[in-house]
Amino acid sequence: MKRKAAGGSGKNAKPKKDIWELRLYVAGQTPKSLAAFANLKKICEEHLKGKYHIEVIDLLKNPQLAQGDQILAIPTLVRNLPQPIKKIIGDLSNTLRVLVGLDVRPKM
């Protein structure tokens, strides 16, 4: 289950300085991971429209990646860009905390 999602014109847009590279680690299609993906999609569309890139990694298929990215908890969202790397664990249901974790200023 490797899904790629890019918001709006993101696919054709050239990588800009403020592009958001996000990775979501899941283990199979559990309710928690599905909820996490849905929540993430919603938040990104709302706050980072057009400048984000989501990669979903299923550890059941690529277990060795758990070691490389230091993943313990499932689901885990990793913000690779912009630096520094941030990790957010849980199903991302608490939007406010996700925004704090990603360091995104919510749009008023």
Partner: protein, 576 residues
């Protein structure tokens, strides 16, 4: 008999165990850790938890063909490899040959934001992947409690840990989980709640500025185990637990005897010396010559071509050699010939267990027939009496089982009872020589006697112990009406006695002379009497002869007269 067999069968069948390969631990636990179950190893900082885990894996990989996974939550693989390299463990080699896998789980609290429900499936996948990639049988989690600091929700963590240990069990992993020692519960976060099959406690305590590591099996479900606290060591061979009670009174003895090196002492011990393989205690107050007795024994052993180890805990080897040279014993030559090995250390360098280990190492490498420990009482500065005794018992058991004769000296505090050794070691000694001061006439002299000597006839006499430039000499003390005399008092007493003796001798001579003259006078008298008697006898003889002649003459005359008277025959016959 059958019951005993049944019992052993039950004991064996009850629980399968996995040998850890850690020296001594498998003895305490009767075969190792429970197979396919997690074991909790807890202890304070620096108590050796990580090393315990690493050694478990390294031994498993190298000795029992069981690959292992080390999941580290504290140190990176590089750090760990460097840290254990000093103990002779080459993790890189094991990793390269796929017998070991070290995974460093790094969590940074500041990087993590919790945004809803989660589980630790990632850790499971990670561990599962590691286990499968090398076919691991052993797992170490060191220390999983770091997760409590890294992850925000303890209740989730607890549930997940419970699941993890269940999962490990299901996978048949023999696991070690390390935990930080807490104040009241065994571990800070109560891990013992989840791991209940076997709990081992490591302790690192400092008594009198000397640190000692100790290990205790707190709990071992379904198995008999040693419940004592066992001292353990970390040295260049890794971890070594020392079960003091592991050896028993099983050693066989010989009736072979070996010389003490002091001829007179040999004769006091039934003429042949100590038993081979026995333990000899030499006790005495300061300066009574304990080391000299020991040196004689070593010298005699080396002379026979036997190897000896001299454990000096008070003097340096060169000091002992110099001092012994002053009484005519050259120990240097034996060192040169490789027959004598000195092992000198201050007792305070390290704890008792470390001493015991280093002594055992010397003994195992040198394989001596004679061992000297001079003095054991110095250890009381390191540990308490009971510990010292336990250590000695262990040392002696080992030495006795190798038929090694051991002589150890103890210093008795002056003023106290001489027969009370400081460490209470008299019971473990087979032969006990007591050296003591005898204070008479303003001087101090040394005395020696044999307090006990198991299994041989021995002298009950006190001997004066002289240190001459030709070694130790034992001489009879003067025992007279004025008590026991030694030293110059003995010598003056002896000369006094000699004077008296010579006077007596003169008196006897005089008497002899008297008698002789008397005898001569009497003999002269006898001779004169004899002469007188002989003269008288002579006279008597003469007289008888004369009488005979006279009678002859008378009869002849009578015949003549009868012939002349012509008497008839009858009358002549009648007259006769």
């Amino acid at each position: 008999m059958t019951m005993a067999k049944e019992k052993t069968r039950l004991l064996r069948g009850g629980l399968q165990k996995v040998r850890t390969g850690i020296e001594g631990l498998d003895e305490i636990t009767n075969g190792g850790l429970p197979k396919g179950r997690p074991t909790l190893v807890c202890g304070g900082a620096g108590s050796g938890k990580t090393l315990f885990g690493v050694e478990f894996l390294v031994r498993g990989a190298t000795q029992y063909n069981e690959p292992g996974v080390f999941l580290s939550f504290e140190e990176s693989a590089e750090e760990l490899t460097k840290n254990v390299a000093s103990l002779g463990f080459d993790l890189n080699r094991l990793t390269a040959s796929k017998r070991l896998l070290v995974d460093y789980v790094h969590i940074e609290r500041s990087e993590i934001e919790e945004t809803g429900e989660y589980d630790l499936e990632g850790l499971f996948i990670r561990l599962g992947n590691a286990i499968d990639s090398i076919g691991a049988k052993r797992v170490v989690l060191d220390t999983i409690e770091s997760l409590f600091a890294g992850l925000p929700n303890p209740s989730v963590l607890r549930a997940e840990l419970r699941r993890l240990f269940g999962w490990l069990k299901k996978k048949g992993m023999t696991a070690i989980i390390t935990g930080e020692r807490g104040d009241n519960p065994l571990t800070r976060h109560g891990l013992e709640e989840y791991v209940s099959d076997c709990v081992i406690l490591l302790d690192h305590r400092v008594v009198n500025q000397i640190s000692t590591r100790r290990l205790r099996v707190v709990k071992y479900r379904g198995s008999i185990h040693g419940t004592n606290e066992f001292p353990f060591l970390i040295d260049e061979r890794g971890l070594a637990v020392m079960p003091i009670t592991s050896l028993g009174l099983k050693h066989t003895v010989t009736s072979q005897r070996i010389s003490t090196g002091i001829p007179r002492l040999d004769s006091m011990l039934g003429g042949k010396g100590y038993f081979c393989g026995s333990s000899i205690l030499v006790s005495g107050t300061a300066g009574t010559g304990k080391t000299s007795v020991a040196a004689h024994f070593v010298d005699a052993a080396c002379r026979r071509g036997e190897r000896s180890v001299f454990f000096a805990f008070e003097e340096s080897p060169s000091q002992v050699i110099r001092n012994m040279r002053s009484i005519g014993i050259d120990l240097q030559q034996w060192m040169g010939k490789g027959l004598l090995h000195f092992h000198a250390e201050r007792p305070t360098v390290y704890g008792l267990e470390a001493h015991l280990a280093s002594m055992e190492k010397s003994i195992n490498t040198f394989k001596p027939k004679v061992v000297i420990v001079d003095p054991v009482t110095n250890f009381s500065s390191v540990a308490n009496e009971a510990d010292v005794k336990a250590m000695l018992i262990r040392l002696l058991d080992q030495l006795k089982s190798n038929q090694t004769t051991t002589l150890f000296t103890t210093l008795t505090a002056s003023g106290g009872s001489l027969e009370l050794t400081e460490v209470g070691m008299s019971s473990i000694a087979d032969t006990w020589l007591l050296l003591r001061d005898i204070e008479i006439g303003g001087e101090r002299n040394r005395g020696l006697y044999i307090l006990k000597s198991r299994g041989m006839a021995h002298s009950n006499q006190i001997r004066e112990f002289l240190l001459t430039n030709k070694g130790v000499d034992l001489i009879d003390v003067y025992v007279g009406p004025s008590g026991v005399l030694t030293g110059s008092a003995r010598i003056s007493q002896e000369s006094q006695e000699r004077d008296i003796e010579s006077i007596h001798q003169q008196e006897i001579e005089r008497r002899k002379l008297n008698v002789e003259t008397k005898r001569k006078a009497l003999e002269a008298q006898i001779a004169s009497l004899n002469a007188q008697f002989q003269a008288e006898e002579q006279e008597l003889k003469k007289l008888t002869e004369q009488e005979k002649m006279r009678q002859n003459g008378v009869s002849k005359l009578r015949e003549k007269i009868a012939g002349m008277r012509k008497e008839d025959e009858n009358s002549g016959r009648r007259n006769r």
